[in-house]
C-alpha cells in the first residue's frame, strides 16, 4: 500500500510539473490521448505483472504484439470477388458521383467495387461503392472515385468485398496468444528452462515470423472494418472535467490561447474566444477494456485461492509445492494471462495505429511493461505486486514520455529519462525497506531490553 502511495505521488508530481511547464498537458485532447495510451500499455503491464509475481519474466511481449497485429491484419485482408455476369450501366451521374445500374444489383453494398474493363483482357479499373439506393427498379450506387471512366450503356462487373469473419479472426488471434502462453509456461515448468531464455527466444521468433509472414510489408486494415476499429478508437461516452480547457487550452485563462503566437487567439471580429468551464473528455474504448481487465485481475489476485497460490509460489515455489499446490499449472496460467493480454493489446495497438511495420511495431514494449510493473511495486524476486500499482506505473511511463515532448526536451533522451526514473524508484523502495527493517529490529531490541 505504501508503495502504491509512493508511485501515485510520483505520478502527481510529474503531472504537476509538466502542467506548470506547459499547460497544454491538460488540454482535453492530450488527456484523451494519454489515457488511451496508458490503457494500452496498462494491459501489457498487468499481463507481465502476473509473470513477474511468479518470479519469472516475459521478454516476448513486443514481438507477440507485432505478430498478433500482423496476423489480425492478414486474417482480415480484403478481397474482391467479381461476379460472373456483367451488369449494364444505364446512367452516370457526376454531381453527386453515382452510377445507375440496370435492374436489381443484388446485395451490392458499401465497400464493394465496380470493375470497369479497359479493353485489354484481364485489366480493369474500378470504382468503390460508397452507398447504395434504389430508384424504381434501378440501383443507384454512389461511388468514391470519379465515374467518368464508364459511360451509360457500358458494362461493369460487380466485385463483392470479402474478408474473414471479424469475430473469427479475433478469436483466432486470441487462441494463438493462448498457445504462445502455454508454450512458454510448459517450457519453463516442464522442460525447466529459464523464463529469460524461453521468452528471449520468443522475442526473436515471433518478430522474425511476423516479418516472414508479411514479407516485411506494412499491414493495415480496410476502411470497411469500422466495427472492429471501434474497439480501438470508439468513444462510447464522455466525462465532464472542470477547468481543463481553461488550463490546457487557455493557458490558465478563460480564453483560447495561441501557443505559437504566444498570446490569446482572436476571432474574425478581433474578440477573445471564450472557453467553457467544463471540458467533456471522451473515454476511449481501450480505457474501458483496460478497466474491466484490471478489475478482473485484481479480484483474481486478491480474492481467489489461485491469486494466493501465485503470490505464494512467487515467494517460495518449493514451500508452495510442499503445501500441495500444483505450482506448474499456476505458473503456466500466469504466462497464459500475460500472452493473452499481449494479444489483446496487440489487436488494439494494431487497430489504433492502422499501420503495422512488422520490423519495428511495438519494439521494446516488453521493457515498458516490465518497467511499469517494477515501478508499480512488483519485485523481480517474485511474490509481490498489486494491479493498481502497476496501472499507475504504466501511467507514469506514458506521462513521462508525453512530458518530454511537451517540455521540449529532446526525445532522444526519452529512454535515458525513463531509465533514471526507474532506477530512482527502485533505489527509493530499497531504502524504505531497509529503514523499515532497521526500525523494526530496533523496536524489538527495545522490547527485549524492557523484558530483561
Amino acid at each position: 500500500m505504501n508503495k502504491i502511495l509512493g508511485i501515485l505521488g510520483l505520478l502527481i508530481v510529474v503531472c504537476l510539473a509538466t502542467t506548470l511547464g506547459n499547460p497544454r498537458f491538460l488540454s482535453p485532447g492530450n488527456v484523451e490521448n494519454l489515457i488511451r495510451l496508458t490503457a494500452l500499455f496498462g494491459l501489457i503491464s498487468v499481463g507481465v505483472a502476473f509473470v513477474i509475481i511468479t518470479g519469472g519474466i516475459d521478454l516476448s511481449i513486443g514481438s507477440t504484439i507485432a505478430l498478433t497485429g500482423c496476423l489480425l491484419a492478414m486474417f482480415l485482408e480484403v478481397d474482391y470477388v467479381p461476379r460472373e455476369v456483367p451488369t449494364t450501366v444505364t446512367e452516370v451521374r457526376t454531381e453527386p458521383r453515382a452510377v445507375v445500374l440496370s435492374g436489381d444489383a443484388g446485395d451490392l453494398a458499401k465497400g464493394d467495387r465496380l470493375h470497369v474493363p479497359t479493353g485489354v483482357p484481364g485489366k480493369f479499373r474500378f470504382l468503390t461503392v460508397d452507398s447504395v439506393a434504389t430508384e424504381q427498379d434501378r440501383t443507384v450506387a454512389a461511388v468514391v472515385e470519379s465515374p467518368s471512366i464508364v459511360s451509360a450503356g457500358g458494362k461493369v462487373t460487380v466485385a463483392k468485398l470479402h474478408h474473414m469473419n471479424v469475430i473469427l479472426a479475433v478469436a483466432l488471434v486470441l487462441a494463438i496468444s493462448v498457445g504462445i502462453g502455454v508454450l512458454h509456461g510448459v517450457l519453463i515448468t516442464k522442460v525447466r528452462l529459464q523464463p529469460f531464455v524461453v521468452t528471449l527466444c520468443g522475442l526473436l521468433f515471433y518478430r522474425g515470423y511476423a516479418r516472414y509472414l508479411t514479407n516485411e510489408q506494412t499491414q493495415h486494415f480496410d476502411a470497411s472494418l469500422e466495427g472492429l476499429k471501434y474497439l480501438a478508437s470508439g468513444q462510447p461516452f464522455q466525462v465532464p472535467i472542470p477547468f481543463l480547457r481553461w488550463i490546457g487550452d487557455g493557458s490558465w485563462s478563460r480564453f483560447l490561447w495561441d501557443p505559437t503566437a504566444g498570446k490569446h487567439a482572436l476571432d474574425a471580429q478581433g474578440n477573445l474566444i471564450p472557453l467553457d468551464m467544463i471540458a467533456w473528455v471522451a473515454v476511449p474504448m481501450p480505457v474501458i477494456i483496460m478497466l474491466v481487465v484490471a478489475v478482473l485481475a485484481a479480484v483474481f489476485l486478491n480474492r481467489t485461492i489461485y491469486g494466493r497460490y501465485l503470490l505464494a509460489l512467487g515467494r517460495n515455489e518449493q514451500a508452495a509445492r510442499y503445501s500441495g499446490i500444483n505450482t506448474d499449472r499456476m505458473t503456466i496460467l500466469a504466462y497464459v494471462i500475460c500472452s493473452v493480454l499481449a494479444g489483446v493489446a496487440g489487436i488494439l495497438f494494431a487497430l489504433d495505429l492502422n499501420l503495422i511495420q512488422p520490423a519495428s511495431h511495438a519494439n521494446f514494449y516488453e521493457l515498458y511493461a516490465i518497467s511499469a510493473a517494477v515501478l508499480g511495486g512488483c519485485s523481480l524476486r517474485g511474490g509481490e505486486g498489486a494491479i493498481l500499482g502497476v496501472l499507475i506505473g504504466a501511467a507514469v511511463m506514458r506521462v513521462l514520455s508525453n512530458s518530454i515532448v511537451l517540455l521540449g526536451i529532446s526525445t532522444h533522451l526519452e529512454f535515458a529519462i525513463i531509465g533514471l526514473v526507474l532506477l530512482a524508484g527502485v533505489i527509493a523502495d530499497e531504502m524504505v525497506k531497509r529503514y523499515a527493517a532497521r526500525r523494526r529490529a530496533k523496536h524489538e531490541a527495545v522490547l527485549a531490553e524492557k523484558g530483561a
Binding site: 510442499y322 499446490i325 511474490g383
Partner: protein
C-alpha cells in the same frame, strides 16, 4: 594431559569470550555468554538444537558480529569483523556444510584466495603442488594434490578442509558437527587427527550432538542452553548423564513426556521403495496408527530422501506407498496430502514456510482449496483456522498478521505444524522437527507429537539428535547408505546400538579411535 591443563591455568587462556550477546529478529540467540579455551585443549561445546552454539561459532569465525561482549585472544581484546580477520587471528571454522570448491583439485582448494604467484603473476602450480603434499601429510591424508575434491568422500573432504585451515596457520579450529556425515572409519580417522593436533598445541572447539564422541575426545565440556551458558564439566566430571542434565535443564523423563500407546493397524505402508540417488536399495516399512517411530542415521543416509519420496516431492524410481491400504500417486504432493500424509520438511525456511507471508496465510496455505467455494478465498474461514492453530499450538506471535520471518525458529516450526494439523493428517512425517528450535518450543513440539499419536496419527520422524530419537521413539529405524539397517524396540534403544547400525559396522565408535591411536604411536 592433566599436567598440561594445570599449566595452562596459570597463563591467560588462549581464547576468551566474555559476556557475548546476539539477537536475531524474534529470538535472543545468545545472552551474556562466556567461554574460555586453553592452548592445546579440546573443548567440547554441547547443547540442544538452538542453544546458540552455532551462533557463537559464527561470531568467532567473523561471519556474524556480536551485539555486546568482547573476545580476547592471548589476553588482548580483538575485533573479528570479517572471515579474513578471523583467519588473521588464526581462527578457522570447519563448517557442517563443507566450504570447498568441489570442481577444483585439492591443491587449488588449499591455497584458494592466497595462491602463490610466479614472477609474471601467474599461479605457481608447482609450488602449490609441493607445499600441498607437505600440508596433506600433516593431517595424514594420502591423496594427490591433483585430485578433484568432488571425487573424494565426505570424510576426506573434511580432512582437506582441516588441512586448509592448518596451512593458513590456524591456532584455533572450530569444528561444527564434524562427524554428522562420516562413517565410523572416517570418524575414527578424524579423532586421530584431532588428538595429533592437540599434541602439537592446536586448540579445538568441538561441537557435537554425539555425547559418546565428546566423552572420548574432550578435555573439558561447556554446555549451552537457550543461548545461555548452562555449565562446565571438567575432564573427570564428563559423563553422559551429567551432560544431558545440563543440556536439558530438567529431568529427562519429564522432558520427553511419553505415554506408550498400543499401536493400531498399519496406516503407512512403504513397499520396496527405491529412491534416487540410491536406487540400488529398496526400503520397506510400516507405521501404525498411534505410534511414534524415530528414524536415525548419519547425514546423507537417505532418510530425508525417503520422506520426500513418500510425500511425493521426490518421485521414487520403483515401489509403492499405501495409506490405509490405498496406493498413492507419488508424482506430486497432491495425492499424498489428499490421502492424509503431511510432511514437516527438513528446511522449514526453504520448504516449510513462505517466510514473507503472514502466520495466517502460512497456516491456511495447504487448506485454501478445501475451504474455498469455486475458487473464492474464504477470508473468515482463514482467520478462524489461524486463530485455532495459534491457540492450540501456543504459537507466540503478536497477531496472525505477523510476517513469519520475524518469528523465532520454534514458533516458525509450530506454524508449519499448524498448517498440517489443520488438515487432520493420518500420517505425519517430520524431518529434523526440532532443528534450530529453543528448548521450550522443543518441549511443546514433543507434546504435540505425543498428542497426535494419542489421537491415532501415525508419526514418523527423522532426527540426527540422538537424545530425541532415544526419548521420543516407540521404536526406531536406522538407515545407512540408503538401506534400513535395523530396527530397535524402545527397550533396546541406546546410543551405541543406533551408532552401530547407522555406520553400517559392528564396531563401537567409542573404542576404535583409541585403538588406532595406540597403533600410530608405536
Amino acid at each position: 594431559m592433566t599436567g598440561e591443563s594445570t599449566a595452562n591455568d596459570r597463563r591467560p587462556p588462549l581464547l576468551e569470550v566474555r559476556g557475548v550477546s546476539k539477537r536475531f529478529p524474534g529470538v535472543q540467540a545468545l545472552a551474556d555468554v562466556s567461554l574460555s579455551l586453553g592452548c592445546g585443549e579440546v573443548l567440547a561445546l554441547i547443547g540442544e538444537n538452538g542453544a546458540g552454539k552455532s551462533t557463537l561459532m559464527k561470531i568467532l569465525a567473523g561471519v556474524q558480529s556480536p551485539d555486546a561482549g568482547e573476545i580476547l585472544l592471548d589476553g588482548r581484546a580483538i575485533r573479528i569483523d570479517s572471515v579474513r580477520a578471523a583467519q588473521a587471528h588464526g581462527i578457522a571454522l570447519i563448517h557442517q556444510e563443507l566450504n570447498l570448491a568441489d570442481n577444483l583439485d585439492v591443491g587449488a582448494n588449499l591455497f584458494l584466495g592466497r595462491e602463490p604467484r610466479t614472477a609474471i603473476g601467474l599461479i605457481d602450480r608447482r609450488r602449490i603442488e609441493r607445499e600441498s603434499v607437505e600440508i596433506l601429510r600433516r593431517v595424514g591424508l594420502d591423496v594427490s594434490p591433483n585430485t578433484i575434491v568432488g571425487t573424494l568422500s565426505i570424510g576426506y573432504q573434511q580432512m582437506v578442509e582441516i588441512a586448509k585451515a592448518l596451512s593458513a596457520n590456524a591456532r584455533i579450529l572450530i569444528m561444527d558437527e564434524p562427524t554428522s556425515s562420516l562413517t565410523s572409519g572416517e570418524a575414527a580417522r578424524l579423532f586421530d587427527v584431532i588428538k595429533d593436533l592437540r599434541g602439537r598445541g592446536v586448540s579445538i572447539i568441538y561441537i557435537s550432538h554425539r555425547l559418546g564422541e565428546v566423552n572420548e575426545l574432550a578435555d573439558r565440556v561447556t554446555v549451552f542452553r537457550d543461548g545461555r551458558h548452562a555449565g562446565d564439566l571438567a575432564r573427570e566430571e564428563i559423563s553422559h548423564d551429567a551432560m544431558v542434565r545440563l543440556m536439558v535443564g530438567r529431568d529427562l523423563a519429564q522432558f520427553y513426556a511419553r505415554t506408550i500407546h498400543t499401536p493400531g493397524e498399519a496406516v503407512l505402508e512403504v513397499d520396496a521403495l527405491r529412491v534416487a540417488p540410491r536406487g540400488r536399495h529398496a526400503v520397506s516399512l510400516a507405521i501404525h496408527s498411534g505410534e511414534i517411530v524415530g528414524m536415525a542415521g548419519l547425514v546423507g543416509a537417505g532418510r530425508t530422501e525417503l520422506l520426500e519420496a513418500i510425500f511425493g516431492v521426490r518421485p521414487p524410481l520403483l515401489g509403492t506407498v499405501r495409506v490405509a491400504g490405498n496406493p498413492l500417486r507419488l508424482d506430486s504432493p497432491v495425492g499424498p496430502i489428499a490421502a492424509g500424509v503431511a510432511l514437516v520438511p527438513e528446511d522449514r525456511k526453504l520448504q516449510g514456510l513462505v517466510l514473507e507471508m503472514s502466520v495466517r496465510q502460512n497456516i491456511s496455505l495447504a487448506n485454501l482449496h478445501r475451504q474455498a467455494t469455486r475458487g473464492w478465498l474464504d477470508a473468515s474461514g482463514e482467520r478462524r483456522l489461524a486463530a485455532e492453530m495459534i491457540d492450540r499450538l501456543h504459537v507466540r506471535t503478536p497477531n496472525d498478521q505477523q510476517i513469519v520471518h520475524y518469528l523465532s525458529g520454534g514458533n516458525q516450526q509450530k506454524v508449519v505444524l499448524g498448517k498440517w494439523l489443520a488438515l487432520r493428517p493420518r500420517v505425519l512425517l517430520l524431518d529434523e522437527p526440532t532443528r534450530g528450535v529453543d528448548v521450550g518450543a522443543k518441549h511443546e513440539i514433543y507434546r504435540i507429537m505425543e498428542q497426535l499419536a494419542a489421537d491415532g496419527v501415525a508419526v514418523l520422524f527423522v532426527s540426527s539428535d540422538m537424545e530425541e530419537v532415544l526419548g521420543m521413539s516407540d521404536r526406531a529405524l536406522v538407515m545407512h547408505e540408503g538401506r534400513i539397517t535395523g530396527e530397535l524396540a524402545r527397550a533396546d534403544l541406546s546410543e551405541e546400538a543406533i551408532m552401530q547400525l547407522a555406520t553400517g559396522r559392528d564396531v563401537s565408535v567409542g573404542r576404535k579411535p583409541a585403538a588406532a591411536e595406540t597403533a600410530r604411536n608405536k
